[in-house]
Symmetry: D3
Subunit: 178 residues, 6 copies
């Protein structure tokens, strides 16, 4: 049994996720009661469930600093949440503010998440150099872990499958110190 | 008419305040449904009303990063609020986290507020050197102004009377650029 | 002879100033070839000359990050300049960007300049609490000293007379290490 | 048509580049009117032209904070410039100051550019571990994009071909919000 | 009994100080075994003793980042020390590095100490505008409090008498949370 | 001869290393005089020696900010040391503080070391996504180079063999400017 396998023995069996989709266009449709397709939000939820974990909450908000702070702080204040995953707002368009807003409230940033995600993205021939245009990152707030994913469904699936789901149990164990 | 007097002509006639008391001991009493005396919160409200301005909201929260972020982000998301004033958690006890938490979400810190407040406090013979043990500060988020006041009723009254109420109309005018 | 008097013996006899007025309204008049009154820029120049020092350059620019960076970098690259003094853009209106722009290129910020300036301003009964609405500051870049003054002529006169001219010779001596 | 292909439809057809070579040794030769070979500057220009884009300006400066600030601020103030590319000063010798100087004036750093560039460099067997000795990075200032490349001709060619030219049109589209 | 008087009831009766003099000229004399006069270090020790507190250690070091880090980390690692007071290296000469070095290892900076100290200094007619040329500050590391005082004996006496000795007992009580 | 080969000609022939193991569990055994196995510290020393370089010092300390600062500052103050390598405390458990403590005293961080190390780790099939849970980094302090390695023996061997030993001679040459 390797050290990594040993660590994983300590991982919690149940992990409870809160999903936040950040998309002004979808939010405006929602406000007008039009039909919304949230492919990335759905892909996050499916990957969580297919791993045997639970989705305990979901919200849809626009690319707005205050709405983002409010949605995250409500999820952080929910004792039934272990992990928060957002999708959207991590690029360089003038409206993207997810990382700028949430990074500042991290107790500790998981500073290697972003570069490993970009490396894995670069290795996808459909992404290649576009990988450097993401500032997707992750961090720890209290005893919860937060991942800020891009808006693209492919990016979200890659991040969940290759990076987040394989480590989340062990990471929660580390962060909680027990 | 001086430049300052001219500036004040542009000040909005109505200013709407949201008051947040940050005090673990009072919050615990509140949770147990015991009687709470919130002398500093009350002093802020009285000074607002006696100036002819309005109090549009109030909440009581403990010295907890997540509860503080949540209370401020809800007040920031309220279109009826112009100014947020908190009391408590601005000193150097191990539980004080108000400034550490909210400063990071300021768009711009009003960096001179803290030193001018400490100077005015120092000039009160009952405070003197204790003035340097406050990190009370202020900042701008979106088109709202936020002041983080100490927990002491005397400090709160001094700040409202000498610094905040005389400038708030002009400051909102500046911040809103119109 | 006190220590301060002794220090002043080492001060350079000649000090060469570059003055930068930052004011969008005056710049627009200048572009349209209208008559400009630059009371604050003039007050700075007069106080320099009446102290027996020299003004070796002057420019007028709008409240624009790039124009500000360009004007300062050209003055910094001029070997005939010892001190750069700007006026304007140090407050909290949405267009004020002088401090945000230049502070980041300081090698060392003279972090006490701002609070001492606000204290001296507060003591003027015409200013009082408005003093905290300035983020006027100063810093060192290479072997030059930079002061970022407010746009008001009264503030400029106060800063030059009470804070800058009494110390500039000694400060240049310190900064140059010889 | 993939999302990336769709995005690229919006890219501007013409992109105008300003090239800055930062090299004390070449600058000293230039001052003495000796012949200069600027292989990296030339490689940048050739790759721009062969992509069908334009070089609208070029300058050669030494490894000096003030000269660097001045050259960049003049290029930033030029309305005919869309992108600034520099070469040199991105390593760990005591004279390298390009990144330290320009990073601070970025409105937003393209924080993923550096790690993706190092990954691509590492994959070149002639570079391998030496890749971590570069702090080459990129950022956004106003509506312009800035890339700070290393001094080596091979590194410059790699960055232009694999990372910058494939994305620059789309990136300008994002940054300009239209 | 005021709130401040009540707080002071909790102050520890015994406070143990470690004094560090930072002065290249005195250190060089010490290395050459010449006689040293350390007027500021002596003034700190006398003020501690005359207040009834204890001096448990003293060292003399040059204006050198590594020597400063080493001296402070040894004092911080000493369980018999409650407070560390240094004198020297807080100004703007090219050799002054005390604040730049130690500020970064503060868990929390007592950010109001510097401005209150400069205000008190300004009020001394022998100092006046020279007050802004100090970046003297204070901070908390673990359960110890650190003050970085200027090198001048007058400044040291003022800081000890007016700011440090009146608050140190209460401050230690706050910092230790018990 | 490539540019990299040419650079390596200038590398110092002798490089002197100081090794610091940061491990609370091993430190507690050491204090109780129990037998300690320090596989990672030993792996570092072996790789240094097998490259023909020298180990001039070693210490074992717990995951404690003050002990870490003290150990590093003593090694930094030792004129016989060129490079400091630590192992341990670079992850996200609640006790890990090595990077948080030492990063702040870097004169310059070698910001690309961390992402290149994570890339190389990711490529090891036994590590893969766990690579992003390291914040291992490196930096320059004075004329010394510091590497903060993880606690795992495999990670330490990888870093020494693939990244540190191939570059250390050239890096010292760069940093020392001669
Ligand atoms: Mg989006
Ligand atoms: Mg309190
Ligand atoms: Mg103005
Ligand atoms: Mg170079």
């Amino acid at each position: 049994m390797t050290a990594h396998e040993k660590h994983k023995e300590h991982a919690p069996k149940e992990v409870r996720f809160y999903v936040i989709t950040i998309s002004t266009s979808r939010y405006e449709k929602f406000i007008k009661r039009e039909t919304i397709v949230d492919e990335s939000g759905d892909a996050i939820k499916e990957s969580i469930i297919s791993e045997g974990y639970k989705v305990v909450g979901y919200t849809l908000i626009p690319d707005n600093k205050i709405k983002i702070l409010r949605a995250f702080s409500e999820a952080l204040d929910n004792p039934d949440v272990d992990v928060i995953i957002s999708t959207g707002g991590t690029g360089y368009s003038t409206t993207d503010v997810t990382v700028e807003t949430i990074r500042k409230i991290f107790d500790r940033e998981i500073e290697g998440y972003g570069d490993v995600f970009r490396m894995v993205s670069y290795n996808d021939p459909k992404v290649r150099s576009a990988s450097y245009l993401s500032k997707s990152t992750a961090g720890i707030i209290g005893d919860k872990v937060v991942f800020l994913l891009p808006g693209s469904p492919d990016a979200v699936k890659l991040a969940m499958k290759e990076l987040i789901l394989p480590e989340i149990g062990h990471l929660l164990y580390l962060v909680r110190g027990k």
